[in-house]
C-alpha cells in the first residue's frame, strides 16, 4: 500500500526531510517508487522568479534531449536555468535515464499581452505536446509538469535511495510545499506516468488506496474532450482531474470538491441548509462520485493544501504541526518524522465529512465539514 507524506511550511525546506518521513513509514509497504511535487520552489544556484514556468521530466536519450531543446526553441521559450542533478546512476534501478531535467524557461515574448487564463491554457497544451512527442518516440521523453513554481520528480525505486541517487539531500532545491508518494502503481503495471502526485494546471493531488469507481469516472472525464484530461495510467489520476474540473471548469469553491466526490446521503441533505442545491449538484456530478477507499492530499497554485478521505474512511490520515508548519501523512509516524516538536493535541484525523484545508498563511488549519453551510451565494 502506498505511503503519503506532505509538508507545507512558510520557510522553504529540503524535500529530503519528507523522504525521511517516508522512510519512517516503511513498515508494511513495498516502496517501489517515488513521486515528489515541490511548490514554492527555491534553487540555491539560481535566483528563481516565480512567474517563470519550470519544465520537469526525464529525457531518456540524448536524441530526446536534443529534440526537447529544438521543440522549446521553436515554441519561443528561452532557457534561463537548467538544474543539474548530481546523479549516482548506480543507485538507480532504471538504466535508461539520460537526464533528469528541472528547467526554468522564460515564456515567449508574444505571451506578454495574453491574459492569465490563456497563458495557463497554453502552458498545459505545451506540456501535452511534449508528452505526446515522447510517447510517439517510444517513450524517450517523459514530462511531468510545465508550470510556474512547481517541480516534479518521479522515479522507480526505494524513495530514500532515489533521493540519495538524485542528490536531494544537498539543499540545492528547497520548497515551501513538498508532496511525496512512495509507490509505483503496481495495480496497472509500472509506468512513470502512473506515479503520483498527478498534476494539471497548478493542481496536484496524490492518493493511496484504490479508486474502485475508476472506469466510469475515467470514461466521463475522457468524454468531456477537454485537453489535459488524458493519461489515466493510474486510477488515482482522476482525483486531480476532478479537483481541476470543480475549481477551474465549474469555478466552484474548494469546499465543493468533497461534495462532488463523496456527497452526503439524501436523508442528510434533507436537513442541510443548502440541501436542495447540493442534492442537484450530487445528481449532476454523480458520475464523479468516488468509492474509495482513498486518502487524498492535494495542493493548489496559491499554496493552499487539502486533506480528505472517502466516505468509508478506510484509508485514514493525520495532520499535525504548528503555526507556520504543517505535515500530513498516511501514517502518524510520518507526521512525527516531519514535525517532531509539535503539540500533538492539535493532531487531527479527518472524518468522512471533513476536508482539512491549510491556507497559504499556514497559521492554522481549517476543518471544514460537509454539514457546514455551503459557501456559494447561488446555493442560498
Amino acid at each position: 500500500m502506498c505511503r503519503l507524506a506532505m509538508k507545507t511550511a512558510a520557510e522553504p525546506f529540503s524535500p529530503y526531510s519528507v523522504l525521511q518521513a517516508m522512510e519512517a513509514m516503511r513498515e508494511g509497504y513495498d516502496g517501489s517508487g517515488l513521486g515528489l511535487l515541490l511548490r514554492g520552489v527555491n534553487f540555491a544556484d539560481f535566483n528563481y522568479q516565480s512567474n517563470d514556468p519550470i519544465l520537469s521530466g526525464i529525457a531518456h536519450s540524448e536524441a530526446a534531449l536534443h529534440r526537447l531543446n529544438d521543440l522549446m526553441q521553436t515554441k519561443g521559450f528561452t532557457l534561463k536555468y537548467d538544474h543539474e542533478f548530481v546523479v549516482k546512476p548506480e543507485m538507480l534501478e532504471a538504466r535508461d535515464r539520460h537526464k533528469y531535467f528541472l528547467r526554468v524557461y522564460k515564456q515567449p515574448d508574444a505571451w506578454a499581452t495574453w491574459d492569465k487564463e490563456r497563458v495557463e491554457h497554453e502552458l498545459m497544451l505545451n506540456r501535452l505536446d511534449l508528452r505526446e512527442n515522447g510517447i510517439k518516440n517510444n517513450g524517450d521523453l517523459t514530462v511531468f509538469a510545465f508550470w510556474p513554481d512547481v517541480a516534479i520528480i518521479k522515479e522507480v525505486g526505494w524513495p530514500l535511495v532515489v533521493g540519495d541517487a538524485l542528490g536531494l539531500s544537498d539543499d540545492r532545491i528547497t520548497s515551501r510545499i513538498c508532496m511525496a508518494q512512495g509507490r509505483q502503481n503496481t495495480n496497472y503495471g509500472i509506468n512513470l506516468y502512473a506515479c503520483h502526485p498527478f498534476f494539471i494546471q497548478g493542481i496536484g493531488t496524490m492518493t493511496n488506496g484504490e479508486n474502485t469507481a475508476f472506469v466510469p469516472i475515467k470514461e466521463y472525464l475522457s468524454g468531456l474532450n477537454l485537453p489535459g484530461y488524458v493519461g489515466y495510467q493510474s486510477d488515482s489520476e482522476v482525483f486531480a482531474h476532478i479537483l481541476h474540473y470543480v475549481i477551474r471548469q465549474l469555478k466552484l469553491p474548494l469546499e465543493t470538491y468533497k461534495h462532488v466526490i463523496t456527497p452526503l446521503k439524501t436523508s442528510e441533505l434533507a436537513n442541510h441548509p443548502q440541501g436542495e442545491f447540493l442534492l442537484g449538484l450530487r445528481n449532476v456530478c454523480r458520475r464523479l462520485i468516488i468509492d474509495g477507499p482513498n486518502c487524498i492530499m492535494g495542493s493548489l497554485p496559491d499554496e493552499t493544501s487539502i486533506l480528505a478521505m472517502d466516505t468509508k474512511k478506510m484509508r485514514p490520515a493525520t495532520i499535525g504541526g504548528k503555526p507556520g508548519e504543517w505535515a500530513m501523512a498516511s501514517e502518524m509516524c510520518g507526521v512525527d518524522a516531519m514535525i517532531p516538536d509539535r503539540d500533538k493535541s492539535l493532531d487531527f484525523q479527518p472524518m468522512r465529512e471533513n476536508t482539512v484545508i491549510v491556507p497559504a498563511h499556514r497559521k492554522e488549519y481549517i476543518i471544514w465539514s460537509q454539514f457546514d453551510p455551503y459557501p456559494l451565494p447561488q446555493a442560498a
Binding site: 488506496g209 470514461e219 465549474l250 466552484l252 439524501t266 474509495g292 447561488q378 446555493a379
Partner: protein, 545 residues
C-alpha cells in the same frame, strides 16, 4: 379420388405423443376425485370409460380366455384448443400424486399444426429460450488484496439510481443561478417492476403488486416503482398517495388516459414518471393485444370502451409521422400535463436503430431517459413468430448505446434502463447488476416478478404461456373472478417484499467484494468477465477462462 374414411386419420390428426406435454396418469393411485379435471385451464383432461382385458386361464378345464373390466380413466385431449400446456395444476391439486404433465422428449409434431382456422399462433409468456448471455457474466474485479473488503452486512450502501434528465454540471449551475427550470429527477431502486397493464393482469395481482411496492417504500425503505403498462389504473389509485410509486404508461391505444387526465386536478401527488411506449421487446412493431374475453366491465370502464370487445392497440402512435417529431411532441405534451415536474421517457424495443433514438433524445431537453426492451422480454399476448424471432438481444444493444453516450461525455445524462430477460432463469440480481455494469441505470423486471411474487407457472420451455386467453390457472392474468380469487393480494404483497429484500441483500453481496458501496456501479465494466471471447469483444469486457 375418394378418401378412405374408415381409417381415422386426417391431416390434422394428432395423438397424445405428438403433443408437447404428455399427461402421466397412474390409475392405481387415482381416486377419481375429479380435482384435476376441474382445475385444468385448457379443459384438456376428461374422464373416459375404458375396457381393460383380464386374461383368464382355467387349468382344470384346459381352457383359456379373457374377461373384460370396465373402468373410468383420465385422458388428455388431442384437440389443440384443449391441449395440455404443462402448467401442472393437475399435479398441484391431486391428493395422491397420481397425475402430472411431462415434457415430450420426442419431436413435437403439434408445432406444425399451431396455425388453426386461418389464425397464426398467438400466445402469452416469453420467448421460450433458456439461453441467457447475462447468466454467463461473472464479477471478477475482487478488491480483497488491494483493499480491505467491504462487509455487505455492516457497511452502508447506496443502491439507488436516478430516473430523470441529468444536466451537465455547467448547465445545472447556470440554470440554478438564473432560476431556470431544472428537470425532475427521481431517486429509485434500480430494479423496476416492468410495465404490465391493469387488464393483462388481474385486479388481485395488480393490487397485490402495488401493495407490496408501497410496503417496500414505506416500511423497508426500498424505493421500488412499478409501471402500469397501457390501460391506466383504477381511479382511486390515481387519487391516492400511492401514485408516486407508479410509472404511468401511455401507448399507442391511449387506453386509460381519459381517466388519468380527468384525475390530474385531484391527484394528491405526482406519478413517479410517464413512460411512452413505442415498442416492446416481445413483439416489436406490434401493439397490445387485449382479447375480448379479458375486457371485463372494470377494464372496459378504465379504458373507456365497451366490455367484451377485442382491444388491439395499433402498432404505432397515431401522431407518428417521424419518430423524432412524435417523441418530441409527446414528451413535451406529457411533461406539460404535470407542469414539467414529472420525468417523461420513451420505451423502445431493442434494435439496431436504438442509437438513433438515443441521440435524438440527447438533443431533446425534456427527455428524461430511455428504456430499451430486448428480445427476451415477455408479454401478455403476441404472435408466436414476433415473440420468438423479432427483436434484438438487450446486452449488446444497451452496451452500444451506453458507450455512445460515453463518447459524447454524456453518460447517464439520459439514463438508459434495460429490460428483456433479466432473471429469466432465476438469477435476477446477477442479471440486473451485469446490466448495470454494462451501462444501464436500472432494469425492468416483469416475468420474474410474476414467477417470484405470484407463482406464475410459465417457464422458458413453453410451459403454460396462456396469459393471452384469460384462463391463467393462478389467477395472475385473468379477468375471471372465479380464477383471480385464487390469488390473495396480501400474499402477493408479501412475496414482493421478500423478493426486493432479497435483491437488496444480493446487490450488496455483489458490490461489497468489488469495493463499491457509495454509488451504484453503473458502467463499471472492468468488473465484468465472460467465458465467451466473441461476447467479450462485442461487449468490451474481459474474456475470462
Amino acid at each position: 379420388m375418394v378418401s378412405i374414411r374408415s381409417i381415422p386419420s386426417t391431416p390434422g390428426s394428432l395423438t397424445y405423443h405428438d403433443l408437447p406435454w404428455i399427461i402421466e396418469h397412474r390409475e392405481e393411485r387415482c381416486t377419481l376425485c375429479g380435482r384435476c379435471t376441474s382445475i385444468c385451464p385448457t379443459e384438456c383432461l376428461h374422464l373416459t370409460y375404458r375396457r381393460h382385458r383380464m386374461p383368464q386361464l382355467d387349468i382344470l378345464r384346459k381352457k383359456r380366455g379373457s374377461e373384460f373390466r370396465t373402468f373410468t380413466g383420465i385422458r388428455q385431449s388431442t384437440n389443440l384448443t384443449h391441449r395440455c400446456t404443462g402448467c401442472g395444476m393437475c399435479s398441484m391439486v391431486c391428493p395422491n400424486e397420481a397425475i402430472g404433465p411431462v415434457p415430450n422428449a420426442n419431436s413435437n409434431r403439434a408445432l406444425f399444426h399451431s396455425h388453426q382456422k386461418g389464425e397464426a399462433w398467438k400466445r402469452g409468456g416469453r420467448r421460450n429460450s433458456q439461453v441467457s448471455l447475462l447468466d454467463q457474466i461473472s464479477f471478477n474485479r475482487i478488491s480483497m488484496l488491494t483493499d480491505p473488503a467491504l462487509d455487505a452486512g455492516r457497511h452502508e450502501f447506496d443502491l439507488n439510481t436516478l430516473l430523470g434528465r441529468v444536466l451537465p454540471p455547467e448547465e445545472y449551475l447556470r440554470r440554478q443561478a438564473s432560476g431556470e427550470w431544472i428537470p425532475p429527477v427521481r431517486e429509485i431502486f434500480p430494479f423496476v417492476i416492468g410495465s404490465m397493464s391493469f387488464g393483462a393482469l388481474s385486479p388481485n395481482m395488480w393490487l397485490g403488486l402495488l401493495q407490496g411496492v408501497a410496503y417496500c417504500n414505506e416500511v423497508l425503505n426500498i424505493p421500488v416503482v412499478m409501471c402500469t403498462g397501457e390501460g391506466g389504473c383504477p381511479p382511486w389509485v390515481l387519487r391516492s398517495p400511492f401514485l408516486k410509486y407508479l410509472v404511468l404508461q401511455i401507448a399507442s391505444g391511449y387506453f386509460g388516459w381519459d381517466e388519468i387526465i380527468r384525475a390530474i386536478p385531484e391527484m394528491q401527488c405526482d406519478p413517479a414518471a410517464i413512460e411512452i411506449k413505442y415498442g416492446q421487446g416481445a413483439k416489436p412493431g406490434d401493439g397490445g393485444l387485449l382479447m375480448w374475453f379479458k375486457v371485463s366491465q372494470l377494464i372496459a370502464r378504465l379504458r373507456g370502451v365497451p366490455a367484451g370487445v377485442d382491444l388491439p392497440s395499433p402498432p404505432v402512435h397515431q401522431t407518428l409521422y417521424s419518430i423524432e417529431e412524435s417523441v418530441m411532441k409527446m414528451i413535451q405534451t406529457l411533461s406539460m400535463a404535470w407542469n414539467f415536474r414529472v420525468p417523461v421517457y420513451p420505451k423502445i424495443s431493442a434494435s439496431n436503430s436504438a442509437k438513433a433514438v438515443l441521440n435524438n433524445l440527447v438533443r431533446n431537453p425534456y427527455a428524461s431517459g430511455l428504456l430499451i426492451d430486448g428480445i427476451d422480454g415477455g408479454t401478455g399476448a403476441a404472435y408466436n413468430v414476433s415473440m420468438d424471432t423479432t427483436g434484438h438481444p438487450i446486452a449488446s444493444n444497451l452496451r452500444e448505446c451506453y458507450l455512445d453516450l460515453v463518447a459524447q461525455g454524456k453518460q447517464n445524462e439520459i439514463p438508459i434502463f434495460a429490460a428483456g430477460g433479466v432473471g429469466k432463469n432465476g438469477n435476477v440480481t446477477q442479471n440486473g447488476m451485469a446490466m448495470i455494469m454494462l451501462g444501464a441505470s436500472g432494469v425492468h423486471i416483469g416475468k420474474y416478478i410474476l414467477q417470484a411474487a405470484a407463482g406464475c407457472l410459465g417457464n422458458e420451455k413453453n410451459r403454460c404461456n396462456v396469459c393471452n386467453l384469460g384462463i391463467c390457472p393462478k389467477g395472475i392474468t385473468s379477468q375471471n373472478p372465479k380464477l383471480y380469487r385464487r390469488l390473495d393480494p396480501d400474499q402477493v404483497a408479501q412475496r414482493v417484499a421478500d423478493v426486493f429484500m432479497g435483491i437488496r441483500t444480493e446487490m450488496k453481496k455483489i458490490m461489497a467484494p468489488l469495493g463499491r458501496s457509495q454509488n451504484l456501479p453503473i458502467g463499471m465494466s472492468d468488473a465484468l468477465g465472460i467465458g465467451d471471447k466473441d461476447a467479450a469483444d462485442r461487449l468490451k469486457i474481459r474474456y475470462v477462462c
